[in-house]
């Protein structure tokens, strides 16, 4: 391996174009895959941020809501009973209603989230200040997306055109259906909702969904039927699913994942084909030299090691260029374009590309293994 490493290092230093040419080709594909993956990731997260902001094991929906947070209505007293179900550790409620936020004359659409503080419904990541607690009437926390529009802690904003509240904190981005969110106590949510949509029957006794944290060591799947049974006794038909399932049920998420996931898979598939083609081309170009090296005693491991290292260098260069391109693009596109680059997503795509390049390169390694050292003598027969 030391000899292979040395050869690849010298080749990279002295004939970089031989490694850079395939790297540039793969870099374009890597950037495409990273941009597509970042798009699907951003669209997904900006659709489901409200549910991603909390930590819960189970979500209780009214069974007529078809797992939609906006449609679900549960009598608040009923959620108290959930807390007594065997295996339930804690319960919180969370409700969402569309609203408007006015700040210094600028009006923008947002979602108002009513939640119980110090329950599974409380957002986990607070970036500045604090979140409101139950019973605090005229304060709110905003998410990072709204914070980026210029609203700061201490500013006063108007919700729904009539309710003025003070911003006391900023939480991590928790967008819902591509819009930023304002987090308030449940009673503020009910009051604002009732003013905006009097016909929908918003009241303090009504909440959207209940978020449940099960006891340590308990399987949420086992606890869920007990919650359904408990609420059935109170003549309330509910559906209990995991938080992950609830995230997937947000409108548009499955379509986004299927469409962009397919495109990312296509890009990865193209990487497999391109890397296989490039590697085969190089093996064929180097065939005479490989045969001669085999003839003078280089074992198959040296040649294969050299090829694997070259693939690795090509992959690393392509990923570095792809990250730079994707990051640069994300920094230059308008804020309205849902393209935010996350290191974890880039790392995931880089890992997928490594697999793709490996699969493509394996085809070339097979051909390399079949090179006959006697070819160094030309075609003797």
């Amino acid at each position: 391996m030391r000899l292979a490493l040395r050869l690849v290092w010298l080749e990279l230093r002295r004939s970089p174009s031989r490694l850079l040419r395939p790297a540039v080709t793969l870099a374009v594909l890597a950037a495409l895959a990273m941009v597509l993956a970042s798009l699907v990731d951003t669209l997904d997260r900006r659709s489901t941020g409200v549910l991603r902001a909390v930590e819960a094991d189970l979500v209780v929906f009214n069974d007529k809501a078809r797992q939609q947070v906006l449609r679900s209505r549960i009598p608040r007293p009923a959620t108290i009973g959930v807390g007594f179900v065997d295996g339930v550790h804690e319960v919180g409620v969370l409700s969402v209603v569309p609203t408007t936020v006015t700040h210094q004359g600028d009006l923008q659409r947002a979602f108002l989230v009513g939640f119980n503080a110090r329950t599974p419904a409380e957002p986990v990541r607070v970036l500045q200040g604090r979140v409101p607690t139950d019973g605090e009437p005229n304060i709110a926390a905003i998410d990072a997306a709204l914070h980026r529009t210029g609203i700061e802690v201490g500013d006063r904003i108007t919700l729904g055109g009539s309710l003025e509240v003070e911003v006391v904190g900023v939480i991590a981005e928790a967008m819902f259906l591509q819009q930023p969110t304002v987090w308030v106590p449940p009673e503020v949510w009910a009051r604002t909702g009732a003013r905006a949509f009097p016909e929908r029957g918003y009241a303090e006794a009504i909440v959207g969904i209940a978020l449940v944290e099960v006891q340590v060591g308990r399987d949420p799947a086992e606890v869920a039927p007990d919650i359904v049974a408990e609420l059935a006794e109170e003549d309330l038909d509910v559906e209990v699913i995991t938080l992950r399932e609830a995230v997937a049920a947000v409108p548009g998420v499955s379509a986004i994942r299927a469409t962009f996931g397919g495109l990312v898979a296509l890009a990865i598939g193209v990487v497999v084909l391109v890397s296989a083609g490039l590697a085969l081309l190089q093996v064929d170009q180097d065939r005479a030299r490989s045969a001669e090296l085999r003839a003078i005693g280089a074992g198959p491991a040296v040649l294969a090691g050299t090829r694997v290292l070259r693939l690795g260098v090509t992959w690393a260069l392509a990923c570095a260029a792809g990250v730079a391109l994707a990051t640069g693009l994300a920094a230059t596109v308008p804020a309205a374009v849902p393209l935010a680059v996350r290191p974890a997503m880039l790392a995931l795509v880089a890992a997928l590309l490594a697999v793709a390049v490996g699969v493509g390169g394996a085809v070339a390694l097979r051909r390399l293994r079949n090179i006959d050292p006697a070819e160094a003598l030309g075609e003797p027969w």
């Binding site: 030299r289 090296l293 005693g297 198959p300 006697a374 003598l377 027969w381």
Partner: protein, 261 residues
């Protein structure tokens, strides 16, 4: 005179042993399948003693290179056997054959393909690195060989900057670097002018005679072959040589095509 490496490596033979270095016994090579099969080499037996340079002479397509491939453990015979310094390559696995070629056989090819991004001296040293010899030892010896082959000034150049003749001499230096027990050269003078061709053969002869090694030289040039200790003629895959040892020569076969595989 080329000095041998001071530190012998595993598998090298510093003390000449008795007996021939290279023994080919009734070698046969059939290529292709079914009715299209061709017997490229047929019942060839040959011995090369220590200190002996043998020239294999024959027209194009007579099976010279095929024979050389089997003598150098590059190809497996269909029948018969080869022993290189007492070792039958058939008894070794792929890795073992690679080690055998790296440490005991030196090859000079008709059209050498050097590593383009390595300098001349690095290409020569590469043979030692493949054989696992200490780098300091091989660098010293490579410099010595390049000086003998009049390539000292070119040692820092890349292969692309060399003429065909210079490439051939670099390949010769690479072949001699590990002080192999046998050097197999396939038309080594094909790309050289007469003077350089004679110099290359002289170096080969020096290596074999003075170092007690063996050399096999494939050529179609009688004047080059005449500088060898012995000439064997190959015709249609069979030996037809008055120089060959008695009983080791089969009559040339008129028809090389057989149905066997």
């Amino acid at each position: 005179m080329v000095r041998r490496p001071q530190e012998p490596f595993e598998g090298s033979h510093d003390e000449p042993a008795d007996g021939p270095v290279l023994v080919a016994d009734r070698l046969r090579k059939v290529v292709g399948h079914g009715p299209l099969s061709v017997t490229a080499v047929d019942e060839v037996s040959l011995q090369v003693e220590r200190g002996e340079l043998v020239a294999i002479v024959g027209p194009s397509g007579s099976g010279k290179s095929t024979l050389l491939a089997m003598l150098g453990a590059l190809a497996t015979p269909t029948a018969g056997s080869v022993r290189i310094d007492g070792v039958d390559p058939v008894d070794l696995d792929e890795r073992g054959r690679s080690v055998l070629r790296a440490r005991r056989v030196g090859f000079v090819f008709q059209r050498p393909t050097l590593v383009p991004f390595l300098t001349v001296v690095e290409n020569v040293v590469l043979a030692g690195q493949i054989a696992g010899v200490a780098e300091g030892t091989v660098r010293e010896r490579a410099a010595e060989l390049l000086a003998i082959l009049d390539l000292k000034d070119r040692s820092g150049h890349r292969p692309a900057a060399l003429s065909g003749g210079e490439l051939q001499r670099v390949a010769l230096a690479r072949a001699l670097l590990n002080d192999p027990v046998v050097v197999l050269a396939d038309e080594p003078t094909a790309n050289l002018d007469a003077a350089r061709g004679r110099a290359v053969v002289a170096l080969l002869a020096d290596h074999t005679r003075a170092q007690g090694r063996a050399g096999v030289l494939v050529t179609h040039d009688e004047s080059i072959a005449a500088r060898a200790d012995r000439r064997v003629y190959l015709h249609d895959g069979c030996l037809a040589s008055p120089d060959a040892a008695p009983g080791q020569v089969d009559p040339p076969r008129a028809n090389r095509t057989e149905g066997e595989t």
